[in-house]
Symmetry: D2
Subunit: 360 residues, 4 copies
C-alpha cells in the first residue's frame, strides 16, 4: 500500500488511560500522525504535558512507553468543539455518556473509531475485531446512508469481550459454539483513571463484581460471532454467561472459559484450530505476528508474563482440556491485554483494517 | 456435655503452616489440650520455638495469632516415633506421601484427624464436613473393623472443596445439584510453606494451574454430597468441573460457581435455602454462628474482607443470580477461609463432632 | 473514675476512612456514645448507610470491624451546621482546609479533638500524644482564654509523626536526641479515601514522595518533644530530616530511623529505656498494654504482622543497633498503625486523657 | 573494535535467576556467544529446557525476555567439571560458598566475571563498576601474578551497592563524600530463586532485614569509591550506614539516601554533576545511553516505572534536596535495576570494559 501521505488523526479523551494508550499505540505509526489532542473542558487550553498532571503536580502517565516529548507541548482542545479541519480520523477514548452526544457530531464528517460503548448495540453499527469479523464492516455503509453521515462510528468491543471472541472464533468456525461459561480475573488498569480502583480495594483481594461487564460480554460476543445479513448482524445462536471479577493484576485480563460445542473437539483439535487460524491481517501495522498463541505448559498463560507478548496483540491460550460438563465440552484459560488489543491499539487496528479495505 | 477432663492431643507436622494453624485453632480450646508436637526428623529434638526458625534465624510463624509462649519450649518429637501414651487424638498436618505410612501407625490405636489427602478416596473412609455430611461418620466403624484399628483416620477434604460443598449442600437438599462449573481464585497460604509460592510468582499475576487440585475438587465434592449406603458412600450423581487458579491473595479462596439444578430455584430461593440451612453443629466450640452468610451487596464476598468472618468458619456467598446456561441455572460467588475451615480448624471441628456423637 | 453517664460525641467527616475509624474506635466504648454523625453537604440528609455507598452502590467501608448496624440508620448532618445540643465532644476527621473554618465554630462551645492539621502549628495549640507529652495539655487553657472559647481544638499529629515521637521519647529522656534521619514506607490507607492511592500506582511499586509529609514530621516531632514554658511550647533542639515514601502495604507505617544522641546509648540501653518507659496512661480505655514493644528478632517489626498488636496502639521497634554515622548513633526500625494510634483511636485516647485530667 | 570472531562464553549457575539474566543479557550480544551452560550436579546432563522445570513440570523462567529456543536443547554441564575448551570467558552466577572453590578452578585458565560475593573483599580483587572505577582494573594483573593464574576473578558488587556507588561517584568527585545514610526498599527478585521470598512474606508487607546486606553495602561502597595505590585499593574515607528492607516490588531497588559532603553542594549542583558525569563507556554494547537519569518530578523515580529505563542500565535519581542534618547535606532517592545493572548485565558490562581495555 502506498503511504505517500500519513493520515492525520485526533485523539479525544487524550488525558485518560485509554487516551494515553492511543498516544502510545500511535507512536511512530507508519500510517498515522497525531495531529490533535482533545479532552474535557477542564483540560482544554492547557499544554498536554500540563493537563496530564494532577493537583499535586504529579505527571499521571500510565503507559510503559513515555509520551513523545513534542506532544507534551500540544494545546489540548475541548472535545465538544474539536476542530476537524485537516483531521482524517477521530480516535475517541471518552466515557460512554458524552460519547452519545459527541461522537455523532464528529461522525457527521469523519470516521470515528471509539473505545466507548455508546453505539455498540445499535443495529447499524458493527462491533469490529480485525481478524474475527471484518465481514461485518460493510454495515458501515448502511449506517452512513441511514444516518446521513459522511463519516461513521466504529466502536470496539469491551476489553473483556475481545480476548474471548478471538479465542472462540476458530472454535466456532470448526465446531460450532453453543454455550460459553466464563469467569474473568481482570487487571485494574481496565477500571480507568478516574476514580479508578483504589489500592486499598485491590491489595490482598479479589473484587467479585464489575457493574455492567457481564451483560456486555454476553451481548457483544454473540454479536461479534454473528453473521451480517440484510443490513444487520444476526447474533450467533450461543449463550454466554460470565462472572467478571477484578484481581490484583496491573494489566491483562485472565479468563477461565468452558464451552459446549456442536461437534466433537479434542484439546488437540482446538489447539490446531487456534494455531492455524488465518486472521488475514498480517499486512496491518498493529497486527500481531501470531493471532492466537497456544501454550502447552499448564502454568501458562499468566497475565504478567504473557500480556505483552507480540506487542500486547496476541491472545494467549492454555490449559486446553475436555470439559465433562458437556457432550462436546472444552475448557481453557486465556490472557488478553486489556489496554492494548482490548482498547486503543485494538481501535487503531480497526482503523488500519478499514483503511486497507477502502471503507475508511 | 461434661468436660471434666480435657482430651490430650498431639499435632504432627506442627512446624508447617497447617500445623501452626492447628496450634492457633486449639489455643484456649475448651475440650482439648495440646500435649505433644511432632514433625519431621529434621525438627525432632529441638524446642518448638527453635524448630520454627529458618536458616537465617527468622521465626517462620504464619498465623495472625501468636504461638502460646509455653508451647515454644516443648520439645518436638519425630512424627514417625510419636509417643502415643496419654494422647487421645492425633491431628495430622503432614504431607500426603508420609501420611500413607504414618497415619496407619497412629490409627491402629488412636483417632487421627488429618488434613492430608492420603486416605480421602478409600472406600471405608468418610470425608467429613460437620454440618454437611456427618451421616457419613458411621463409616468409621466399618473402617475400624475392616482394618483392625482401635483408632481411625478421618481426613478432611481439600480446602477448595470445603467452601464449595458447604454452599452446594442446601441447594442439593432442596433443588438437586446436577452439574457444577467452578473457577477458583485461591489464596497463596494454601500452597504451604515449603517451597510455597514465591512472591516473584504472585505479585501482579494470576497462576492458572494448581496441580491435582481440580481432580480433588471434582471427586471430593461428589463424595461429600453422596449417601452412605451398605458400608460405602455412593457419590452424588453430579458432574463437577473446575479451573483452579492462584491469585495474589494471602488467605481465603474465592470461587465463582455455576450450577445446573434438577428443579427451579430462583436466587431468592437459593438465598433462603442457604440462610435457613440447619447445620446442627451449634453446640460445637469451633462452629460458626452462621454456617453460610449470604450477601446482598454485589461487591461481596471479598476474600480480604470476608475470610475472617465468624472466626474463619462461615462460608460467605454473594452474587446469587440466574444462569442462562441451564434450564435451572444459578450462578454465585463464595469465599471460604482455606486455612481455617479449609484446614486445621475444620479438622478440629471434625474431632468435636465425632466426640459429641460418641464416635471418637 | 465514675462513669455514671457516658459522654455524647459527634463524629464529623464520618464517611471518610478516618471518620470510619472513629466509628470503629468508639464501638462499645465505656466512656463515649456516638450521638451524631456529620459530613459534607453531599452526604447531609442521607442515612449513614447510604452515604457510605459510592455511585455503583458499593458500600465503601474500610475498617476490619463492621459498622454497628444501628448507626447505619442515623441521618448524617452537614458538618457546617452541626447541631451541638447534647454533644459533649466533637471528633473531627475532616480535611485541613474546611477544618480551618469549621473547627473554630465548634470549639467556641465544645472540645474538639481533630485529626486535621489546620491548627497543629498554632502557638496556643498543643499537639498531644498521651504517654508522650500530656504536660503540654495546660496550653489548652491559654488557647481558651486567648480565643474566648468555652471549648478548644486539640489536634493530633500526623500519623507518621506519632510512631516516631513515641519511639524517640524514652531516648530523648535518657540520652538526649540531637538529630534524626528517617525514611518511611507508609501504608496506603493513610492516603485517604478520596481520591486515595490508585491500585495502579501501588502494585509492584514504591512512590517516593508524599506532598507535605516530610515537613510535618520534622516540625511536629520537635514540638512534641519540646517543653511547655511561659504559655508556649519550646520545640526540642533536634533536627529531624525525613524521606517519606508510599509502599504496597494496606495499613501500618514502617520507619527506618537513625538518631544521634547527646550521651552514649547502647542498643541494650535503648531497648531497656523503651521497654521500661512509663507512659502513665494505663487507666485509659484505648491505651495499649505495652506502650512500646521491642523485638529481638531482626526480621521484626513487619507492618502486616505487627500493626494490629495491642489493638493497633503499641509502637513496635526492632533492629536496634549502633549507627557508625554518629558518635552516639543508634539505628532502628519501627512500625506504627497509621489509622489506629496514628488517627482516630489516637484522637479518642487524647479525649480520654484530657477527661481523666479534668481538662475536658 | 574488530569483532571478527565472537568470544565464546560459559554461564555457570545458568538455571537460577541470575543465570537466566545472563542468558537474557547475552541474547544477540555483538561480542559474545553462549557456548556452554553449567549448573549444580542436580541439573547436569539434562537439557537446559528440562533443568529449568520444577517438580510440577512448570518452566521456572523469570526474565521478561523468553529464553532463546536453541539454548533450551543445550545439555547442562556440572559446574565443578566445566569443560573450558573453546571457552573465552566464564560468567559465574553461583552461590558464594561454592564460588570459593569453583571460581579459582576456572580462573587458573580463564577470565571469570562473577555475581558471587566470594572474592569481593580480597586485597587483590577489584570490585568493578564500569563508568565508576575502571582505574581499579589493573589490580587484576597483581591478582594474576600473586596467584599464578592465567585468568582472574572479577566479581561485581552486591546489587544494592551498584546503584548507590553510581549515584555517589559524581558527588564524590566534585564535593567529597564524608558520610552516607541509606535505607533501601529492595525488589524481591534479588532474593534469588531458591528458596526465594515467599508470596506469603511479601504481600501487604515490608520485611525490615536482609541478612548480611548492610555490611556488604558499607564495605563495597567504600572500596569502589577508593583509590588504587601500591597494588591495593585504599577505601574511600567515608562512613556508609544502611538499613536494607524488602518491599513488595518485583524488580528494582529503591534507595533513600542522605549524604554529608566535604564541600557545599546545592541540589542543582548535584543534578548537574550527575547529568554531566562522563562514564566513558559509550562504546560498550551493554552501556546505557544515560549513565544517571535525574528526574525533576518529585514523584520519580519509581521502581516499576523507571527500573527498565535504558535497558535497566541507567540509575534513576530524584528528589534531590538539601539535608539539614549536615553542614553540606544532600538527600535523594534512587532506583537501580537489581538484576540488570545490579547483576548479570552489569557483569557483562565488566567483561566488555575489560575486553576493550585489553585486560581480558
Amino acid at each position: 500500500m502506498s503511504q505517500a501521505r500519513k493520515k492525520q488523526v485526533a485523539i479525544v479523551g487524550a488525558t485518560g488511560i485509554a487516551g494515553q494508550q492511543f498516544v502510545a499505540a500511535l507512536r511512530d505509526h507508519p500510517w498515522y500522525d497525531i495531529a490533535a489532542l482533545a479532552a474535557s473542558a477542564r483540560s482544554a487550553g492547557k499544554r498536554y504535558g500540563d493537563a496530564l498532571r494532577d493537583a499535586s503536580g504529579a505527571l499521571r502517565w500510565w503507559c510503559a512507553e513515555p509520551p513523545p516529548p513534542a506532544l507534551l507541548d500540544v494545546t489540548v482542545q475541548e472535545g465538544a468543539r474539536l476542530n476537524l479541519d485537516g483531521i482524517d480520523i477521530v480516535f475517541s477514548a471518552i466515557e460512554s455518556e458524552p460519547a452519545k452526544e459527541l461522537e455523532p457530531l464528529w461522525a457527521a464528517d469523519r470516521p470515528v473509531v471509539s473505545t466507548a460503548s455508546a453505539f455498540r448495540y445499535e443495529d447499524d453499527v458493527p462491533l469490529l475485531i480485525p481478524g474475527v469479523n471484518l465481514p461485518h464492516a460493510p454495515l458501515i455503509k448502511t449506517q452512513q446512508s441511514r444516518r446521513g453521515w459522511r463519516g461513521f462510528v466504529a466502536p470496539i468491543p469491551n476489553c473483556t469481550t475481545t480476548g474471548l471472541a478471538i479465542a472462540l472464533k476458530p472454535l466456532h468456525d470448526h465446531f460450532g459454539i453453543e454455550r460459553v461459561s466464563m469467569t474473568s480475573m481482570q487487571g485494574i488498569s481496565g477500571a480507568g483513571r478516574s476514580p479508578g480502583v483504589l489500592g486499598l480495594d485491590m491489595l490482598d483481594n479479589v473484587v467479585p463484581y464489575i457493574p455492567g461487564e457481564e451483560e456486555k460480554v454476553a451481548r457483544e460476543t454473540a454479536k461479534i460471532l454473528g453473521v451480517l445479513r440484510d443490513d444487520a448482524v444476526t447474533p450467533a445462536d450461543c449463550i454466554v454467561s460470565a462472572t467478571c471479577t477484578r484481581a490484583a493484576v496491573l494489566e491483562g485480563h485472565t479468563e477461565a472459559v468452558s464451552v459446549s460445542l456442536a461437534r466433537p473437539c479434542s484439546p488437540a483439535d482446538a489447539a490446531a484450530a487456534m494455531r492455524e487460524y488465518q486472521a488475514g491481517i498480517d499486512d496491518l501495522p498493529s497486527a500481531p505476528q501470531q493471532f492466537i498463541t497456544v501454550h502447552d505448559d499448564p502454568f501458562r498463560p499468566q497475565p504478567r508474563i504473557d500480556r505483552d507478548a507480540d506487542g500486547g496483540m496476541t491472545t494467549s491460550v492454555g490449559r486446553l482440556r475436555p470439559d465433562p460438563l458437556w457432550t462436546n465440552g472444552l475448557r481453557f484459560v486465556l490472557v488478553s491485554h486489556n489496554t492494548k488489543f482490548g482498547a486503543a491499539k485494538g481501535a487503531v487496528l480497526v482503523a488500519e483494517a478499514l483503511q486497507r479495505d477502502k471503507i475508511l
